[in-house]
Amino acid sequence: MTNASARAHRLRIATLLFLLCLSLYLLTYRALIQSGDTRRALDAVTSVARYGDWLMDETNALKLPFRIRDSSALPLGEYRVEEGLNILLASPLLKLAEALPRLGNIHTVWLFNVIITALIASLVYLILREMGYADAVAALVAVGAGFGTNLWAYSQTFFREPLTAFFILLALFALQRGARGGIGARLISLVCAATGLVLAYETKHSALFAVPALLVFALPEARLEGYRAWRPAISALIALPLLCLCLLALLDPLPSAIGDLLSRFGLRTDHLSPALRAYLLSPGASLWATSPLALFAIPGALMLWRRGRRRLVAACFLLVAGYALGHALLTGAHWFGGLSYPPRFLLPAQPALMLLTAPIAQAVLRENSKRIRFLWLALLAYGLWIQVVGVSLSLSRYSESLPPESNGYAEWVPSLTQPRYFRWIVLPRRWGDLGVEFLWTRANLPIWGASFALAFALAAFALWHCLRRPGSRWRHLAPLLALSFIPLVLLNLMNAYDKDPQTQSSQGALHEALDFLARNARADDLLLLSSTDYEDFILNHLDGAIPRPIALERPPAQAASDRQPALVVSESPNDWFDVQSFRVLRHLAGRQERLWLLENTSAFMLWSFRPLERYLAGHFYPLREIELGIVDETVRLLEYSTGEAAPNPLSQYAGEIATDLRFGEGIRLLSLVAPDGESYAPGDVVHISLLWVAEAPVEHDYTVAAFIADARQNRPIAQGMDSAPQAGFAPTSSWKPGAPVWDNRALRLPEDAVAGDYQLWLLMYRQGSAGVTRLPVAGRAVIQDGTVGVPPITIAVR
């Protein structure tokens, strides 16, 4: 085989391994947001791709900003930019989702780790080939890494660890390539490796834990093996940390002298021993527990040591030790990594560890190695089971399934040590009631499952033939498969767009609301979400044409449902909101000309207090509620004019212009705040605040209608939103006699309004079985048979 054809063959095998893993990961594709971290990461992707900033808008409710500066345009927290490489690299996927129709954002961005993890498997193959292993051996290790370790489980997340692992592996690959070349090649490889390390660091700063390993791997192998003087040093490099690791893992509590020494360097020892035990030894959460094939790294390392390949052994060992010690000493109480398939923090070391299993894979492929082959297959089967369980359900399901004494903590000690609480034992019990949570199963898309099962079979078939005979005619399948994968993935994603129940995709009214906003909103508009109930829908379906969404925490005064009472029951607006949410709201309303509100409850849900709507109606100007084609009381889109604040309804302000208008037998319009004599342009919004007072109890609920009217032609040119006072929150039947009630209304002048002076017309009516009954109006200026009151103001359009 010529060099060129050997390179082509190697590339073909790497491609087929990539496609094999890709199709397997897509067969089990979950596209589920499972943790707050990944939710915020997706939010950062949308912010970077759409607006070029790192603001947490869609997930604002998850972690409200600690301090809000008056100078900030938007009162939002920021994602950690300094560890945001995965965000930048994933943003093209979001742009793709926005550029093509019917691609969900979550569905598309979650492909990121699927691709990265499949690339890791290919890279493992390429490194081993560089090390001189045979095709079959390298491919077997790569398949083991891709299928039998928790890399598979992490392919279904949006955590940063797979990308860090990829870059570290890339650095190892660069060093390995340069190891046998001349000085030039070695320098280039060093630069590439340093770049890989920097990229890993930019993804997650903990990549610095890999520096010792990469330094050792950068040493020239031949010289290292040639000089006997190096050997004790290399041995010490392994023995000393090993001793330290054992001591630290087993000493609990840590002797105070060691603790004091470590804390002098700012290291945190409180969780050191439990973390090291969990990472390295526990049967339920260690490197070996969730990736049993990695156990072969121990005999593999011994074999490599004996063969003199100590550089790799030392590097891999330092990598694991660095990550384990680093996280145990620096992450303190957060050593476990939250919701994850453990050990999440050691995942970047996992692929390198698999490199050490190559000698065992060599033995497996020998003709006369039945026992090792059986053992390898057994551990692979066990590993497959663990990974299948890991990808079958959302990570949060495990915490939900633990007994109450666990308090829902994933790092509950028995879950690390007692087999009955292991993840792969607990989670399958939930399959009965939850099924599996693959995208194609929950969205009922058998064609998805069938297409990627077929792709998997074809990739496996082609790989098998290419490994057996490099010149096999089936080798042409590799580029064909690679090319067909792109449309295959896109078509399946488009098919899943409106079928995923997890993202409320089938709720037509939500799509209608977004369509309306896309047609009518301005670029600088904002969309408030009254709670996080539609956060997944917004994250999945929004695009740049729609106003920037800002999710607000569900206010304590708002019940989550009719079965859950609100945390706070109060008439005082001060008690309705969480402090920070309230500040966010005030900040936004104080700076925006208008705000859109996506509200998920309505007046028909009697249990719903709707504090956000109440506040906006009471302190700003409700402009309109959009009539959506699909009537859904859980999807309401409202527009508020917030260019200026209305009179504070809790103040004792008396209004600007007194009136003598009296509606019916006992409702007086005491005064109003209105733009008397101010000039407006067509399309402008006119703000009116009415101060009502009842002289006696009012029996019925009346609706107020406000118009801007042309007196000469005796016809209205603009109408506000008809509603009971305060956007329905102060119905007339609830008024106390003598107690003033503010009622804010906004009216938008038509774009074709002719210049001139206009009047404000007000009327009150009641919709009854006999139709609409208007209340008679008494006062100085009354028109239309005494049913329309005309306050003494003039609205000028110029």
Binding site: L339, N407, P414, N574, F582, L650, S671, G738
Partner: protein, 255 residues
């Protein structure tokens, strides 16, 4: 509160049916007698509350001469002004923080104007329900018709003595014009919202309790602690919790 409530005492004393002075046929004389009666009550209450005319004037954002003029019956306060003065003499103005400053003065001015509008509207309602025209009522009360229209809109202050004359002419109960406290907006809530300070009711209670002062000091101290030190404190707390919770296998919080 020590002493009588000035507003209620004034309304009781000036009720047309109770006060002989109001029965006088000469409207001007009747107005003068009512003014003196009211002035005597104001002075008595002020002395009882141990407040000077200057203090009252400062609270009312008026010259001290006006208070003196009220006390000698040369002029009469409007009902909202009397309510405000009554609040002050009842001790509401004892705290300078609630008393001084332009915001507080503006709030009091708003109160007076809002009450004026409400009283005007009630007066118009009483006139209309009695079937009286503006001209007839103004003549009966000794006022100009145009002035009465303005008073009904709350555009001008209505001296209490004139209000008595009007209620007498309408055969109405003077007490209905007094403000029920529950119907007036709660300015305390308003201030909190306006400043964004947002102290919830339970927080206010907590802060008001003297025994909670150490907790407030602790919270203030936390505000200035560096992030790393906060981490150490948190770790130490987790260690304590872990030590006490290991019996049920608890090992730490989720991240």
């Amino acid at each position: 509160m020590d002493g009588f409530d000035l507003t209620q005492a004034a309304l009781d004393a000036l009720q047309p049916a109770k006060a002989k002075a109001t029965a006088a046929t000469d409207l001007d004389e009747a107005r003068r007698i009512r003014g003196r009666l009211l002035g005597a009550l104001i002075r008595k209450r002020r002395l009882e509350a141990e407040r000077s005319a200057a203090e009252c004037a400062q609270f009312m954002d008026a010259p001290p001469e006006l208070i003196e003029a009220w006390e000698v019956g040369e002029s009469a306060p409007s009902l909202p002004q009397l309510e405000l003065l009554s609040q002050f003499l009842n001790g509401q103005g004892a705290d300078p923080a609630q008393n001084e400053g332009p915001e507080n003065r503006a709030a009091r001015a708003e109160y007076v104007l809002l009450r004026r509008r409400l009283i005007g509207a009630m007066l118009r309602a009483a006139r209309q329900s009695g079937g009286k025209r503006v001209e007839a009522l103004s003549e009966a009360a000794g006022l100009e018709a145009a002035a009465l229209e303005n008073l009904e809109l709350g555009e001008e202050a209505l001296p209490l003595s004139d209000l008595v004359a009007l209620t007498q002419a309408l055969s109405a109960d003077l007490n209905v014009f007094a403000a029920p406290a529950s119907h007036m907006p709660n300015t305390t809530e308003s201030d909190a919202l306006a400043t964004g300070g947002h102290p919830r009711a339970d927080w206010r209670q907590f802060a008001a309790a003297g025994e909670n002062l150490p907790f407030i000091r602790l919270a203030m101290a936390f505000q200035h602690i560096a992030r790393d030190d906060l981490h150490r404190i948190a770790d130490a707390l987790f260690a304590i919790i872990r030590a006490s919770g290991e019996s049920n296998g608890w090992s730490g919080p989720p991240s």
